[in-house]
């Protein structure tokens, strides 16, 4: 593979890795599971969704009437609500195992599409030179360090380059998180209260 193709591919993979870190794997798994539940042909999931919809309907009906004025109807709705909630909880525990399995597959997919290629490239193109450093720009020992692990001194390979890019992206992440975080109010000096004698 051409060096510039590899550089751009690895850059995108590293950006994807950062994106997964920011969004968190958990969120991705949950969102994908929600979509799967919506479009899946599985009957168990359809039953679960129907139950959830029924519960929402019963709650809406219950909140629309006064328990004191329509006690019998309210209590019957309450009984229905308890029964449906119990059934939903049972379905949920069955689905929890399925969800855990689904989350595992999502995790495998993320690893296969981002982490695995990175490792593969690092191994496959470990001797490919990406950049050359002009002699004299840095001291000799820095040139030697930048050439690790397999390069001749003065060359920069994929390992060092991706490590540097990762560090830069890490700093960008810190800045973005800081900018998106809540502003801390400046502490106000409390006026001294005079004692009433």
């Amino acid at each position: 593979m051409q060096s510039y193709t590899l550089v751009i591919t690895v850059l995108f993979l590293l950006l994807a890795q950062l994106a997964v870190k920011l969004v968190t794997k958990d969120t991705i798994q949950k969102k994908l599971w929600a979509q799967y539940v919506r479009f899946s042909p599985s009957s168990q999931l359809k039953t679960y969704q129907a139950k959830a919809a029924e519960i929402a309907h019963v709650v809406k009906e219950k909140n629309a009437i006064s328990p004191q004025d329509h006690y019998a109807r309210w209590t019957k709705l309450n009984r229905q609500f308890d029964k449906l909630t119990k059934e939903k909880a049972e379905l949920e525990s069955e689905l929890a195992t399925r969800q855990a399995q689904f989350a595992k597959y999502v995790s495998y997919a993320i690893t296969a599409s981002i982490t695995a290629p990175l490792w593969f490239f690092r191994y496959q193109y470990r001797k490919q030179v990406f950049f050359y450093i002009e002699r004299g720009v840095f001291p000799a020992w820095i040139d030697w360090c930048l050439a690790l692990p397999f390069m001749a001194t003065g060359c920069v390979g994929l390992t060092i380059w991706s490590a540097v890019v990762k560090a830069v992206l890490g700093q960008i992440e810190v800045m973005v998180r800081f900018m998106l975080s809540e502003e801390v109010q400046k502490p106000v000096k409390v006026a001294k209260v005079e004692e009433v004698k």
Binding site: P67, Q68, H70, Y71, A72, T75, K76, N78, R79, D82
Partner: protein, 359 residues
């Protein structure tokens, strides 16, 4: 078309005349008239079966049975003055705990100067649910007596009661108490499995023959308790043997609590077929001059009609609010009559101001 054809009669006849009932629990939120109702049920049962013995047990430390009958009762069953086949018992959890603590301590350490002396009592006294456990121990004792073959009872003084009526605690711990049998069953089962697994190892660790014998005795005792607990569990879930009578008043919160209670009882497979609605005013505007009574009766009627719709599969017994507290055997007899024949305000209205003063 009338649903009255399908409505169940509004009396407790199904409880009082039910021949095979052994356990009757009366429960509900505080202040609804549980004790009055439990005393009334006990009296009607005793009067319907004069040749049989009945026992009314209360675990409320406020000695409500003594107040209800104007007679002192204690932790030993004592007959009610005027009703020879009804006995009452008030289990005081605190003194029961003290007895148990003394007994346990005497087994372990007889030294009166032992600084750890009071520790056992302090420890066990603060266990939540201990009062339920104690009343349950009492239940187990009676199960032992009642299920033993005639002639096999070692204690000659032990009486076999036809039915035992429980005036349950007002704090809502009743449900925990009813859960005890199944909880204990599981607990004891686990202890049994564990002890079977570790018995060879423990015997290897030594301790001599005396220690081993003590362990064996303890295990035998546990097995005995376990079989009694299983029996209690089976009896409480058998509708021919056990029933629960919730008591409530015609107000929203009481009804809501009663509904929750009934749903929980259903989940424990406990039979509930009757509900007592107490403290009803029966103040129709044409006959009653008290505007407040008429207004409150209107509110009560609203809830009563809702209850008729909600509990059409239950016997809904409607009891009146009287002019005085229902205390003493004579007054309780007058009041309890209406558990079996529905109260009619027109015909029976005289009862409201007819109660005798306490002597």
């Amino acid at each position: 078309m009338s649903d009255l054809d399908f409505a169940l009669e509004p009396t407790l006849e199904s409880v009082v005349l039910h021949d095979s009932l052994k356990w009757v629990f009366v429960g509900g939120k505080g202040g609804v008239g549980k004790t009055t109702t439990s005393c009334s049920v006990a009296i009607q049962l005793a009067m319907a079966h004069p040749a049989e013995e009945f026992l009314l047990i209360s675990t409320d430390p406020a000695h409500n049975l003594s107040d209800a009958f104007n007679q002192k009762f204690g932790k030993d069953a004592k007959k009610v003055d005027g009703l020879a086949n009804l006995s009452c018992m008030e289990i005081d959890p605190e003194s029961g705990m003290a007895d148990m603590a003394l007994q346990a301590q005497s087994q372990f350490n007889n030294d009166p100067n032992d600084p750890l002396g009071g520790m056992f009592k302090d420890m066990t006294g603060s266990i939540p649910g201990i009062d339920e456990a104690l009343s349950f121990m009492e239940v187990l004792k009676h199960i032992k007596t009642q299920t033993a073959a005639p002639g096999a009872i070692a204690d000659v003084a032990a009486i076999t009661y036809k039915t035992i009526i429980f005036d349950t605690a007002p704090t809502g711990h009743t449900l925990r108490f009813l859960q005890l049998p199944s909880t204990l069953e599981k607990l004891l089962g686990k202890v049994q499995t564990l002890s079977n697994k570790f018995a060879p190892m423990l015997s290897m660790l030594g301790g001599g023959a005396a220690q081993q014998q003590q362990t064996q005795e303890m295990l035998a005792k546990l097995t005995e308790i376990q079989s009694q607990v299983t029996e209690a569990n089976n009896q409480f879930q058998n509708p021919e043997l056990t029933t629960f009578v919730p008591v409530c008043i015609a107000e929203f919160l009481s009804l809501y609590e009663t509904e929750r209670l009934i749903q929980e009882l259903i989940s424990y497979n406990m039979d509930v077929t009757s509900i007592v609605v107490n403290q009803l005013l029966f103040a129709d505007s044409t006959e009653d001059e008290c505007k407040r009574c008429v207004a409150r009766w209107a509110m009560q009627k609203k809830y009563l009609s809702q209850m008729d719709e909600l509990y059409e599969d239950y016997h809904l017994v409607k009891m009146p609010l009287l002019g005085k507290e229902v205390r003493g055997l004579a007054n309780l007899k007058k009041f309890s009559k209406y558990l079996l024949t529905p109260y009619d305000p027109v015909v029976n209205g005289g009862l409201v101001f007819d109660l005798e003063d306490a002597k």
